[in-house]
């Protein structure tokens, strides 16, 4: 039997502001034991009924439910969208409703519940501002939420011409990762829409009157004081997810990934430290897989789960293979990773983004949809890059050891859940985002619900327990469960200045569609009165405080 203690937390977490802990801890909370609500949709949910009778006592054929059906509903998107461990609080910081009915601005394009698409959040180093990338099909942008003033403003956005195709640098699509750079600028990356670009916003604290790219000044953030933004045109093009700067060499090295069923892991070593516009791009190649490629068994362009690739080991010793020279020039025989191949209509030719093609050229190791990274140090001070491979239901850890990179499976569906605690009925399903607390604990955020029956609610967040810090989790402990229809959790990140707090976004809930009074697919419908569905308030950011978490003894 687990004994609970409220006082064990302070010692257990001991979050040191500004320092990077290098080892994981035991869970400081009592893990959940249940995922989302049992779904009613399989039809086997039964209700008790009676048959109504008329005045003469004859049956009318009408059934009257005696169960209180409303108790089956359960989800409270406005007040309690997550189930959390005892003692952890959840507070809504901001929402589309709040912004759109009040002051400020937030990115919204005309695309149903995908109109705003809050994605991977970023804090500034002071923990005072949260930057929200918008993963919209077109018109992607970045909004900034200031915690103290409770105000959101769009600081950069494309001009939405991308709805008809991205032919120039005035519009952007699907900003997924956003990161505050060591130099104090902001980098956003296009994921599946747009052309796979990195965009640098020179002054993330500026609130332009017109945040659309054509109205701003494009220029070199390093040398042009008037510049507002630039496309980092020397950097590789891929379905960007998970940008992370090196801990040891933050101004020199950046990691990123390519979200594809044959996606790879990349590293850029900047030509000039602090200038993120170009550098040497390398791609990860696991030795065991490389052998398969060399023997013509494996096709690096193939999906991770097809052909010989599916049967080939993709963990163990690895190396970085250069795709370019230090100035970003493609090496002979390799596609320039910064230049997409286009057909006559200007569309990107399969297999897609240039970095992907370049990686295939050198036999990079494919993974099943890498979707996020986080970076930490292990006990011996080596950097460890964690990344999710969503289709594989796996989280990998890549240790940059002195002997070269070593890739391990950090956690997957076979990892014990709630080890040493009461079991949970939740399972790891589609790990997407990652987060890291100040103690070096990794959190895994799903974008999919637990069970194949559900399909409505938003999935779970797991605490990956790696106390011995060997790059392999001993347990996945059930941390949180999101239950809002049609949504997913995104962008979990701890506040660097208040490490007992973290934020998570609820992305694309049905309530992003304006109004259940006049639910039209188009938010610009003439009939739309902008009234929000009473059930929710659209994409939103929630803040969690773990300082009151009841710790197990």
């Amino acid at each position: 039997m687990i004994k609970h203690s409220k006082c064990a937390l302070a010692g257990a977490i001991a979050m040191a502001v500004g320092s990077m802990a290098t080892a994981g801890t035991e869970p400081y909370f009592i893990p959940l034991t249940q995922g989302e609500l049992v779904d009613l949709a399989d039809g086997t949910k039964v209700v008790e009924v009676v048959e109504q009778t008329d005045a003469d006592g004859n049956p009318t054929g009408v059934f009257v439910a005696t169960d209180n059906l409303i108790t089956l509903q359960g989800v409270d998107e406005r007040n309690k969208p997550w189930t959390v461990p005892v003692g952890i609080t959840q507070t809504n910081l901001m929402s589309m409703e709040e912004v759109e009915l009040g002051e400020g601005s937030v990115v919204r394009v005309d695309n149903g519940r995908n109109s705003s698409m809050f994605d991977m959040l970023a804090f500034d180093p002071e923990g005072e501002n949260i930057f929200i990338p918008h993963e919209t099909t077109f018109g992607a942008g970045v909004s900034r939420y200031n915690i103290a003033t409770d105000r959101t403003d769009v600081i950069f956005q494309g001009d939405s011409t991308g709805s008809e195709g991205f032919k120039n640098d005035t519009d952007f699509g699907a900003f997924d990762p956003v990161r505050f750079t060591p130099r104090g600028t902001l980098i956003a990356g296009e994921e599946w829409s747009g052309t796979g670009r990195f965009v640098e916003i020179c002054d993330p604290y500026k609130t332009p009157e017109d945040p659309r790219a054509p109205a701003l000044t494009a220029g070199d953030c390093n040398s042009d004081p008037d510049a507002d933004w630039r496309v980092l045109s020397g950097l590789p093009l891929s379905a960007q997810e998970g940008i992370e700067f090196s801990i040891r060499r933050p101004d020199e090295v950046m990691y990123f990934i390519d979200e594809d069923r044959s996606g790879s892991i990349y590293k850029v070593t900047f030509t000039t430290p602090g200038d993120y516009s170009r550098g040497q791009t390398s791609v990860l190649s696991v030795n065991s897989y490389a052998k398969c490629v060399q023997s013509d068994g494996c096709d690096p362009a193939e999906r991770w789960d097809r052909g010989v690739t599916a049967e080939t080991q993709r963990t163990g010793a690895a190396r970085w293979i250069a795709l370019t020279d230090i100035n970003g020039n493609a090496l002979p025989g390799i596609q320039n990773p910064a230049e997409n191949l286009l057909d006559a209509s200007g569309d990107i030719i399969d297999p897609g983004f240039a970095a992907r093609v370049a990686g295939d050229n050198v036999g990079s190791t494919p993974f099943g949809r890498p979707e996020d990274t986080t970076i930490s140090l292990n006990r011996v001070g080596n950097e460890v890059i964690y990344f999710t491979a969503t289709s594989e239901n796996t989280i990998y850890s890549l240790e940059e050891s002195s002997r070269g990179p070593i890739l391990r499976i950090f956690a997957d569906a076979s990892t014990p859940r709630n080890l040493g605690f009461p079991a949970t009925n939740a399972t790891l399903n589609a790990p997407d985002n990652l987060a890291l607390d100040a103690n070096g604990n990794v959190y895994v955020i799903e974008d999919s619900p637990n069970t194949t029956q559900a399909g409505r609610a938003g999935g779970d967040i797991w605490f990956a327990r790696d106390v011995n810090n060997d790059g392999v989790a001993e347990s996945l402990d059930h941390f949180m469960s999101l239950q809002v229809a049609g949504s997913e959790s995104t962008g979990m990140i701890f506040n660097p200045a208040q490490p007992n707090k973290f934020v998570v976004a609820v992305q694309h809930p049905q309530s992003t569609i304006l109004s259940d009074q006049d639910e039209s697919l188009s938010s610009t419908s003439e009939d739309s009165d902008g009234v929000r569905s009473s059930l929710g308030f659209g994409d939103a950011i929630w803040e969690f405080d773990i300082s009151g978490a009841v710790a197990p003894q």
Binding site: A41, G43, K45, V46, V47, V50, V75, D347, T452, S525
Partner: protein
């Protein structure tokens, strides 16, 4: 939350149920009866409430989220997918196809012709109505009764009922549609000035063949700017031209015939002859005209604002046994394209669908309230279906979910539609549906008639190979198609319409389903259970089709052959 309207008697009865259990404790002679409770599946409560619903709005369990009481989470898989192919009969090619160059549809599900890939839920055939023998109940319905039923107008009153219910979705705005062709002029333009335009198309094999139970019609309407000139005034010439251009773009034609268009009223040379005059062919299909001249243009997609109205009806039997659309409507279906996106966005939509499948997630579509469901490819899809008394009511979430299989997640469609890609080409195709005189045109890339080809590939007149009339008319004793007979058929009407007797049987069978209000169990008008249907399919062990019966297929037709 929308409320279901129960009858006053019903509401009073709730009290009576419990009132009847109250006995006078001082009366030693009184009988104490307890209400008899029982446990039923929640979807059975749904059906029960639908059977007793009054009013036009449908929300059988208002206490819960729209999606909560769904019985069949895989309602997107239609009954036809559970046919026994016996390793040789392939009706699957009509829906499941590999991507074609340039199209927005990259569902890439052609492989499903040769393998089963159902979810765990999908491996069970939830369409219970396929296994119901209705012959006894059908026998009790007289021909007069069903003719009377089918000849009743249940459409005209719908708009007023919806307005009274403060319905916010699309309200039928095409007057006299129950009259069929009589609601339109000879070119298909609605006589009521609503700008709906009917067009002639070849029904998709084979569920929409009248011989298999239903007739239908389809109308299109383009957004206002496609009907107005640069000054914003309605222009028939602009509308006709933009309709033709829409068809040309959808089918990726470089040139198309059109209803007569006066280029002088548009101010553009549309046929490349360097003159402005009245023309009947447009070659300038790379842009719209009038107020829509700067609208986004792309092949294989409709412009934003395009609407479709599709009625599904009984099989009307007229004088002399003529088969036509009935007055009564089984369903009124509506879809509107709120936005058009570049093809990359569509590709992403399919990618996400694939990811969801990889992760074992079941289909789910955002609910737009009175506007139906969002198919997440730019279309809202809503429908009306018969209530027990035959009056049309809004479709429930699950009844609407059924639509998404065809209008969201199969590889054969063009911008999620069937009828426009199959429209009789160009000018000749503008007008109310008329199967008489329609040739059995082959599909693009093929040489034999589509119906003739289908019959041979499927081995029957429908997916379940259970249509005795089709066997009798078009097959030989050895089970092969009587090609001579098929080729000798005058037109599509002759090939795919039933006899009056069969029409009435099918109508009666559907009437029984309406009585039961169990559409969630299926809507196929079967009198007896078709023999070639699986109740369960195991992805791994069910017999599949061999590669040699895989068929590439283009939904478009080659009307020139």
């Amino acid at each position: 939350m929308k409320q279901v309207t129960f009858t006053a008697a019903g509401l009073a009865g709730i009290a009576l149920v419990f009132g009847a259990t109250m006995a006078d404790p001082t009366d030693n002679n009184s009988k104490v009866s307890q209400p008899k409770t029982k446990k039923i599946a929640i979807h059975e409560l749904v059906i029960n409430r639908l059977q007793h619903q009054e009013g036009v709005r449908t929300n059988p369990i208002p206490e819960l989220d729209w999606t909560a009481p769904v019985y069949n989470r895989e309602a997107v898989i239609p009954p036809q997918c559970y046919t026994r192919t016996e390793g040789k009969h392939n009706p699957c090619y009509v829906c499941h196809q590999h991507p074609k160059p340039g199209r927005e549809n990259v569902m890439a599900d052609g492989g499903l012709q040769l393998e089963y890939s159902f979810s765990d839920v999908g491996m069970t055939n939830h369409w219970k109505n396929l296994f119901e023998d209705r012959s006894e109940r059908v026998a009790k319905i007289s021909d007069e009764e069903i003719d009377d039923w089918v000849d009743t107008d249940n459409y005209s009153a719908l708009a007023a009922r919806l307005k009274e219910a403060k319905f916010r979705g699309w309200i039928p705005d095409l007057r006299d549609l129950q009259k069929g062709a009589a609601a339109f002029d000879e070119n298909g333009f609605a006589l009521d000035g609503s700008h709906w335009v009917a067009f002639n198309y070849k029904p998709l094999p084979s569920t929409f063949w009248p011989t298999n139970g239903s007739t239908d019609d389809v109308m299109i309407r383009l957004e206002e700017k496609y009907r107005t000139d640069a000054e914003g005034n309605y222009s028939a010439d602009v509308y006709r031209a933009n309709l033709a251009i829409t068809e040309a773009l959808l089918k990726d034609r470089k040139t198309i015939t059109t209803l007569p268009v006066d280029e002088r009223k548009i101010g553009k040379d549309l046929n490349g002859d360097d003159e402005l005059g009245v023309i009947e062919r447009i070659t300038a299909v790379d842009g719209f005209v009038g107020a829509a001249s700067d609208a986004y243009v792309d092949t294989y997609v409709y412009p934003a604002g395009t609407e479709f109205l599709h009625t599904v009806r009984y099989v009307g039997v007229g004088d002399g046994g003529q088969i036509s659309v009935s007055k009564r409507m089984k369903e009124v279906r509506y879809m509107k394209k709120s936005r058009t996106l570049n093809k990359k966005a569509y590709k992403r939509g399919y990618e996400l669908e694939g990811f969801a499948k990889d992760e074992g997630r079941l289909p789910w579509y955002p609910v737009l309230g009175d506007y139906g469901l969002d198919n997440e490819f730019g279309w809202s899809v809503q429908g009306f279906i018969e209530g027990r008394d035959g009056e049309l009511r809004t479709a429930s979430y699950e009844e609407n979910l059924f639509c998404m299989g065809c209008h969201a997640s199969i590889g054969a469609t063009i911008d999620k539609t069937f009828s426009m890609p199959r429209k009789v080409e160009g000018a000749a195709g503008w007008g109310y549906i008329n199967l008489r005189g329609m040739p059995d045109a082959p599909n693009m890339g093929e040489s034999e008639g589509e119906i003739a080809t289908y019959l041979a590939r499927v081995g029957g007149g429908g997916e379940f190979r259970s249509n005795p009339e089709m066997f009798e008319r078009w097959f030989q004793d050895d089970g092969t198609v009587d090609q001579a007979a098929v080729k000798a058929a005058k037109d599509v009407y002759e090939l795919i319409t039933p006899s009056p007797e069969r029409a009435r049987e099918l109508n009666k069978a559907y009437r029984v389903i309406v009585e039961d209000q169990d559409f969630i169990y299926g809507r196929d008008a079967t009198v007896t259970p078709p023999p070639n249907v699986y109740a369960e399919i195991d992805n791994k062990t069910a017999p599949t089709l061999p590669p040699e019966v895989f068929h590439h297929w283009d939904i478009r037709l080659d009307w020139e052959k």
